[in-house]
Amino acid sequence: MAPQLTLQAPLELPPQEVPDYLNRLWSEGLKEEGGAATFTLVVWEPSWLQQQLIRTGRIDGPISGLLNEPLLQAAREAVGQLGLPASTAPTAPELAWALGQQPGHHSADDLRGQFVDRAISAHQPRRLITLAPTLAADRPLETLVAAYCPLSDERSGGGDACGDVVVLRGGMGALQQGLPMLQPLIAAELPCWVWWNGSLDESPELLEALAVGPRRLVLDSSLGTPRRCLDVLVERIAGGQAVNDLNWLRLRTWRESLAMVFDPPSRQSALQHVVQLDIDVEGQHPVKGLLLAAWIADRLGWHLQNSSWLEADTSTEGRGILAEFQRGDGQTVQFRLMPVPVGVSKTHPGALVGMRLICAPADRAPLCVILCSESGGCMRLEAGGVASMELAEEVVPLPNESEEMEMARLLGGGHDSTNPLLASAATLAAKLLPS
């Protein structure tokens, strides 16, 4: 789905004039049109990776904030050139940081906030506010404003409504100073979504300021240090905020594939007899794997007994996690999460490579369920004596939706509370991650 540009070139205004300008616009110039009674979307859009790839001459501009194939290709090439582990995902903050150490002075137009994915614009946001930090930390604050209404021949029948786009661009310090002007731009009577489209490690004070309740927060727990990612998730959920995690949403195909294996009632009793759970992930980011394990444990009523780090061996790419759960009947379930090397990493850190669930009912042969990512093998999980068991092996399809599509789904039918399954899984995943 091709992104769309705003219909008119944004108008650059002094920051202090933006609220008044928009008020005047809606009360005078566009009074007859009426603003869309939809929602406000605030996007934290650092796009460090794209900025650094452009600066170092690895891709051409403009800076759009969108992940596209040339960008991902250039990022994967940079992983090798910079000597990072092959399993480093293109979107991993470490890559952008490493690129930041490289020389380069290329520049490009910065169109962040002006590229609106069609899936998102179809929901007619009443106001789309983008915070676009620049690499130059001392760059002063620029504010750009564009209002739009559908052209008369594009109107579907009279109900289309107008919206506006506001972009705050500048160095980190300037953006911090510009924060006070945000509050009056967010209509209290409409739902507001805050999409933290960057690492959770950076600018915690900015996250605090932007994502206040009852605004709905969208984040990605694959971006940032695992402890910080899980802590933010858990704190926000415990505080009653509606939180959506794109990393959790990307687990959907894994959860669906596993549920499918146990749909036949004849298999369901085996779920009461799980004795072992193994999950392999790409690289050193275990959060997605932990969320999957926590979801399984929560659904099957297991209680966490202990968890610890497992030292690396030759088949892995770092420390794993070992844990024990207790089932409802008092039996123990062993859990192991291992980071494994991959040749070509997927887009996001910590993507799942494979999963193995072993059930040992007393009255029948053991059942071994292996789920394997579409893009790679999982021979490690297929080894280890599973040949004697009843084997259910499935290939999990890769999700084929962009971040913007996922975001559009959330915007299109959002909830003002956190999905209870995510709430339970995040809490347990945070406990599973050893300190």
Binding site: A36, A37, T38, F39, H123, Q124, S156, G157, G158, G159, D160, A161, E189, L190, P191, R252, R255, E256, L258, A259, F262, D263, P264, P265, S266, Q268, S269, L271, I296, R299, L300, R409, L410, G412, G413, G414, H415, D416, S417, N419, P420, L421
Partner: protein, 507 residues
């Protein structure tokens, strides 16, 4: 569909499309359908987190209820559900509103528009509206006109109308009603409900046919000898005598539900899974369908009416003895007929449709009987060889079965039929959504795939016009044969197939 056990990993995992923020407006909110089907279906969607938080239901009827009256009455009608999911109900009930509206009164409709704008602001429903006409069919046309006149259907992307059955009482009334509703909005805004299409197993006909390569090559006149479609009910007319007396089995069941099953079973493969592509194919095949004897329709149709039956301990009243039924009623409670479809795929293949009340079993099924093997090499254990049959069980015991011959155990080489069996319960365990859950969700999503388009409705009525005209003009030529309650209908219906050397399948 009963669930034998629940898969704990399945909870919350439906990969559903997302319903946009919107207001569902139910006209006839004080009626039975609202508290028996619509609000329970919406509550189910709410509990499955398939409704957005920016959502409102506005009940409309003539009664001067308040929002709280409406909430309380719905809670009373759904007492068990409310008790079981008390806190969810509290949240859901906050989305329920009520406005006294008589669609025939202009000032009421204007007030409705104002209330909807207020709800848009209160619930941020973005001007998206689904109007559900759960009112007497006599008011479908005037209701649409009133909504259009008030500008409430102006935006086809944001407003739509759901219309309950029956859509017309014959071809000309359906055509006229189509003209009226299409003058009020675009076809894409009109959602004509046929709740059979909300059934998982009816939708499965499409998947079974077009997701597998093994069926389509033999799904035609070269391999299929005949098709039987049955919808049998054990219940009588119950509380619906008033409606049923003017309708009868042909209008109540055949023109809509059985015809939809016929269309899904016989349509060509659509080029893509797209509402219009599917509905194009359904309309085309219905336009090619005809009664086996259009000029002498009495030769291909049998009507029946149940008489008293049951046992001494549990006697069952006949139709004419039911409360509200004319003691001399000639309304049919059973109808069976033979059709042909004049196209390359189905030329010459007879389709037998039957439906009735007070039959021995409640079931709906489509049975495709294949042609016999060209040469019988083996003796059949049952005396004569059995034709292969594919049985699509719509309800109950949802699933499919395939009957084929195998070698009977023993020293000889005799064949006998066996049944290969697929059951939704055994494979999935999960209960599927009640039809209204699916259809309401689809209507709010703006997905018309499972709703009938104007040309489908008209083609279906046109198909049965010779019968309806005969019933009107010369009813004695299509007499109503009595049958004992609890039997498989009048013997005349058996003769319909016996003439072709066939028998109804006894499920």
């Amino acid at each position: 569909m009963p669930a034998t056990q629940t898969n704990p990993l399945r909870v919350g995992l439906r990969q559903e499309r997302v319903i946009a923020p919107q207001c569902l407006v139910i006209f006839g909110a004080s009626g039975d359908l609202t508290h028996r089907k619509l609000i329970p279906a919406l509550f189910e969607l709410f509990r499955q987190r398939r409704l957005p938080s920016e959502f409102a239901v506005l009940g409309c009827a003539r009664r001067p209820w308040s929002d709280d009256d409406f909430r309380n009455r719905m809670a009373e009608a759904m007492a068990d559900d409310v008790k079981q999911h008390h806190s969810a109900w509290q949240q859901f009930a906050a989305c329920l509103f009520y406005e006294p509206v008589d669609l025939q009164q202009n000032e009421d409709v204007v007030r409705l528009g104002t209330r909807l704008e207020a709800l848009d602001r209160l619930k941020a429903t973005r001007g998206n509206r689904t109007f559900y006409l759960s009112v007497s069919p006599a008011f479908y046309g005037s209701g649409c006109r009133a909504l259009a006149a008030a500008g409430l259907l102006r935006d086809p992307a944001r407003s739509r109308v759901v219309i309950e059955k029956p859509f017309g009482t014959d071809y000309s009334s359906a055509e006229q009603l189509n003209r009226v509703v299409q003058s009020c909005g675009q076809e894409q805004q009109i959602f004509r409900i046929d709740h059979y299409l909300g059934k998982e197993t009816v939708q499965n006909i499409l998947v079974l046919r077009f997701a597998n390569t093994i069926f389509e090559p033999i799904w035609n006149r070269n391999y299929i000898a005949n098709v039987q479609i049955t919808a049998a009910e054990t219940v009588g007319v119950e509380e619906r005598a008033g409606y049923y007396e003017t309708s009868g089995a042909l209008r109540d069941m055949v023109q809509n539900h059985l015809t939809q099953m016929l269309a899904l079973t016989t349509m060509e493969a659509p080029g893509r899974f797209d509402p219009e592509a599917i509905r194009n194919e359904k309309a085309k095949v219905l336009q090619a369908a005809r009664l086996a004897h259009e000029d002498e329709p009495w030769r291909c149709c049998v009507r029946g009416q149940y008489g008293p039956g049951g046992t001494v301990q549990r006697p069952v009243a006949g139709y004419r003895q039911e409360p509200g039924v004319n003691p001399n009623s000639t309304t049919e409670t059973y109808v069976a007929m033979k059709l042909f479809i004049d196209n390359w795929r189905w030329q010459g293949v007879p389709f037998y449709l039957r439906t009735g009340k007070r039959l021995p079993k409640r079931l709906s099924e489509v049975v495709l009987t294949f042609r016999e093997a060209p040469v019988h090499l083996f003796d059949a254990a049952g005396g004569s060889p059995t034709a292969n049959q594919l049985v699509l069980r719509i309800q109950p015991d949802e699933g499919a079965g395939f009957v084929f011959d195998v070698k009977a155990p023993g020293s000889g080489m005799r064949s006998r039929p066996v049944d290969m069996h697929f059951s939704y319960d055994e494979s999935f365990g999960e209960p599927s959504d009640e039809g209204y859950v699916r259809l309401l969700a689809d209507a709010m999503l703006g997905d018309p795939t499972l709703f009938t388009r104007s040309d489908e409705v008209e083609a279906a009525w046109r198909l049965y016009t010779p019968l309806l005209e005969l019933m009107e003009d010369a009813p004695s030529q299509l007499p109503v044969h009595p049958y004992e309650a609890g039997t498989w209908g009048p013997s005349a219906a058996d003769n319909l197939l016996a003439d072709d050397g066939l028998m109804w399948r006894r499920p």
